[in-house]
Amino acid sequence: MTAPTLVIGVGNPSRGDDALGPAFVDRAAEELRTFVEGGHLELLTDFQLQVEHALDLIGRARVVFVDALVGGDAPFVWRRVEPARDTTVSTHAMSPAAVLDAHRTVLGDPPEAWVLAIRGERFELGEGLSGVAAGNLESALVFFTATCG
């Protein structure tokens, strides 16, 4: 059975705070294990969003894209995201809005979608999460658990 809520953590675990998305998924797997095992929540990670992620949205009631935030408000930003044509679609990565738009174009109306953007500080190759980012991640996890758990 498809879990009604999908969390996609985006980022490269080897590039400092770019690991925030995958790290959030790891922490959520620990903290929300009963929801995952009960089939209410599915957790995915990837380096970047791709057009085929539209297929992961099929049958969901809600999707949450978790990514690192460069600049912007700390500790995190929580906002609704709607399908939108991304005319700057470039390289091999897409925005959450563009993934939703791909779903709408090919498959029909996408599920309700949110972005959880966690503020990062350092993105150097080979670094782990910065202390500030790790703290921001925990704040985001508390918020997410209260909101979606």
């Binding site: 057009v51 044509r85 679609v89 091999h92």
Partner: protein, 486 residues
């Protein structure tokens, strides 16, 4: 107009045009073009602006971590790095011949990666240019435009990519950051149930792959003159070839041809790559310029990837792709960058055929997963990644830590040929004309044909030449700092 377009004689007096970033290629690139007052082109360069010190990052790690770590080089072809590292470390653990199960599971993983990467490139990166035209509205000339105008085609592209990723998930254990391949073999086989599940969509997959070959052939036939001429620049070819000269994307020996198609060397073992391929540096680029040693740095640039592979091999051992290859090469040696698209889709069809063959093979479900032998201090692994020849080379100390890592990725191999292609486009299409967005996209079209992955093409912190130029407000140089490469 300068004949080589690599270096203008008086750059400070020229008008500078910068295309940054190059869109729809992995990573970040920058192209600079210097024009004079009559809009004549004097210099064209592709700069790599993202810098990754991955070789240094790997040094000091335990060797068994490396196949997993190197996947973080690239979010687009992590499986290629996973397998190339495993192949190199097979040598270190003395696994000269893998078990049939390990070899076939790895092959299945690799061809799944080839299929999904080629599908991504054509349907979602290249097709906007090819379907709508190089000069079409940039707001439409992207994957979303393809989704809107050709939803069935876009859907097939998505599903082909999804199928490739399901193969990767089954063989590597996870969709990303897989751990399936280990030094000496694999850590899981593919069950009969998994094989049955993967076989279900094969009919559609093969049909879509054949349809894609036909589509790109039709696009070519509609505008043959342009496809044949656009950016065509002569260079040699390098790739692995398998037994009897067959196309083999996972394993084999190195073969190179010169720009006329004559074989320069053949049967070269992976461990001997450094005798045949040398690397040059330019002060203005982070990316090295490899060349075929036999031809020297000036004449030795070469192409890798689908266009090179289909012309370097003697045949393809799957019938539908071989029939398409024979039609493809019937007219003689092809240097046109746009031919990469045709070659890439023939390889996509080949990958689908190989996957069909492998999924019918009971060896995939065997239980002998790992082998080993006398330990060695060094290992070289070469495979044909989606974008071309990928070389991983490691030295490992007795304490199991990596002491040396050398990576030559596909995009680096293509560096010289890619420059020549964009310079040829500049000669053909920009010289003497006012540059517009559409015209500048022509440069990008030529780059995208090679499917470069720029983010993993730059590496080796501390080894590469560095050139810093300080310009005054008028654009004239006032200071410069240069450090040559080692």
């Amino acid at each position: 107009m300068s004949s080589s377009l690599e270096k203008a004689s008086a750059p400070a007096q020229l008008r500078r045009i910068v295309i940054e970033p190059v869109s729809r290629v992995e990573g970040h690139g920058k192209v600079t073009i210097l024009l004079d007052d009559q809009r004549r082109v004097h210099q064209v360069r592709l700069h790599i602006v993202e810098f990754r010190g991955f070789e240094r990052f790997i040094q000091g790690r335990p060797y068994w971590e490396v196949p997993v770590m190197v996947q973080r080089l690239c979010g687009i072809c992590p499986v290629s790095h996973h397998l190339a590292a495993s192949k190199a470390l097979d040598g270190v653990v003395g696994a000269r011949t893998l078990t049939p199960t390990a070899e076939k599971v790895r092959r299945l993983m690799h061809y799944g990666q080839i299929l999904q990467s080629h599908a991504l490139h054509f349907f979602h990166l290249a097709s906007p240019d090819l379907l709508f035209g190089f000069d079409s509205d940039p707001a439409r000339r992207n994957v979303v435009g393809v989704l809107a105008a050709h939803p069935d085609l876009a859907r097939q592209g998505i599903l082909l990519r999804k199928f490739g990723q399901e193969i990767i998930c089954v063989t590597a254990g996870k969709r990303v950051h897989g751990t399936g391949s280990v030094p000496g073999g694999v850590n899981k086989s593919v069950s009969r149930a998994e094989r049955d599940e993967l076989r279900r969509p094969l009919g559609d997959v093969l049909g879509w792959a054949e349809g894609a070959v036909q589509l790109v052939t039709d696009l070519y036939e509609r505008d043959r003159a342009r496809w044949d001429r656009f950016g065509a620049a002569r260079a040699g070819f390098l790739s692995l070839v398998g037994q009897g000269g067959a196309l083999d994307l996972y394993d084999g020996v190195l073969r190179a041809r010169d720009q006329d198609g004559n074989i320069l060397f053949d049967g070269v073992a992976p461990e001997q790559y450094q005798e045949r391929i040398k690397e040059n540096v330019r002060s203005w680029s982070y990316m090295k310029f490899p060349f075929l040693a036999a031809l020297g740095p000036e004449a030795g640039s070469y192409k890798v990837g689908p266009l090179a592979r289909l012309q370097n091999c003697d045949f393809i051992d799957t019938p539908r792709a071989e029939a398409a290859r024979q039609r493809f090469v019937a007219g003689g040696i092809i240097h046109a960058p746009l031919a990469y698209h045709r070659a890439r889709l023939i390889e996509l069809l080949h990958a689908a055929e190989v996957i069909e063959r492998l999924l019918a093979d009971d060896d995939l479900s065997g239980d002998r997963l790992v082998t080993s032998g006398p330990r060695a201090s060094s290992g070289v692994g070469i495979l044909e990644a989606p974008r071309g020849t990928l070389i991983h080379h490691y030295d490992v100390a007795a304490n199991d830590l990596v002491t040396m890592c050398n990576l030559i990725v596909s995009t680096t191999h293509n560096n010289g040929a890619m420059h020549e292609a964009i310079r040829e486009v500049a000669r053909q299409e920009l010289d003497g004309r006012e540059p517009t967005e559409g015209l500048l996209n022509h440069i990008e079209v030529a780059i995208r044909a090679f499917d470069p992955c720029l983010s993993c093409a730059t590496h080796a912190l501390g080894k590469m030449a560095l050139f810093v130029e300080v310009l005054d407000a008028g654009g004239a140089p006032v200071a410069q700092l240069s450090r040559s490469g080692s």
